[in-house]
Symmetry: C2
DNA sequence: GGGGTAGTACTACGTCCTGTAGAGAGGTGA
DNA sequence: TCACCTCTCTACAGGACGTAGTACTACCCC
């Protein structure tokens, strides 16, 4: 899958935060701090949809972009991808379990328990 | 931390697989398939140690390289880093727990249980 | 002791990704 | 018709990586 760049992630964050599909102009307006040219935003949106992170639909002449997957799914996939890099998945998983904070361990336990019950 | 390139990862894999610190020449000999110039291997080893993935000690004129951290630790850190990208860690963790395979869920459960007992 | 060998440091170059944006085309409303 | 919006195409700079040459030093064998 591959990670995203700084601006790409900023834009994905904006789109994940919104519920509705946005146009390039709308996304641009939501990037406060940076003064980007409209074409910059359009280029990045285009690249993101080309890479499969966004889907887009026509709205008049403009495109409306929305995330192809939820942020959670993306993060989970990144984590699985990291896990795939090792030969010894069990060891890495054990290590990971030890590395998360206590409250997060609790979350994991709960999710695993629910999983088991189904 | 940042991910590694293809050749960088190949070399890290070799060093993770060995127990002893290796010289550039030895690493080069262990990369079977590719016919790399010795300096290529040296350059990559140098970059990896500069990035903190390897530590090196003198052995005569040569350097001996060894991983600065275990592969498991590296993988776990990558996973945590992915997790840091989200605003909602709990949701991502839950999603992750649902995404791992059954046997891996078992491993996670066991690790978390042992963690709890300590 | 001179040449091959091994090792180092430094430098370089092509490629790909990403951030950034301009140019030009084609609608659209005042 | 003119200003304007949005699109697509093209471009360029900087950084990471794969790859390797060059130049210099130290060592070993004949």
């Amino acid at each position: 899958m591959k990670g995203l760049g700084e601006l790409e992630r900023t834009i994905m964050d904006i789109l994940w935060a919104e519920n509705a599909p946005l146009t390039a102009r709308e996304v641009g307006r939501l990037i406060e701090d940076r003064d980007l040219a409209p074409t910059t935003v359009m280029t990045v949106l285009d690249r993101l949809s080309r890479k499969g992170f966004l889907s887009r639909t026509r709205d008049g002449r403009a495109w409306r972009y929305q995330p192809a997957a939820s942020r959670d799914a993306y993060i989970a996939e990144l984590m699985l991808e990291a896990l795939d890099l090792t030969g010894d998945r069990d060891a890495a998983l054990t290590r990971f379990a030890q590395a998360v904070s206590g409250s997060e361990a609790e979350i994991l336990r709960k999710a695993l328990t629910e999983l088991e019950e189904q």
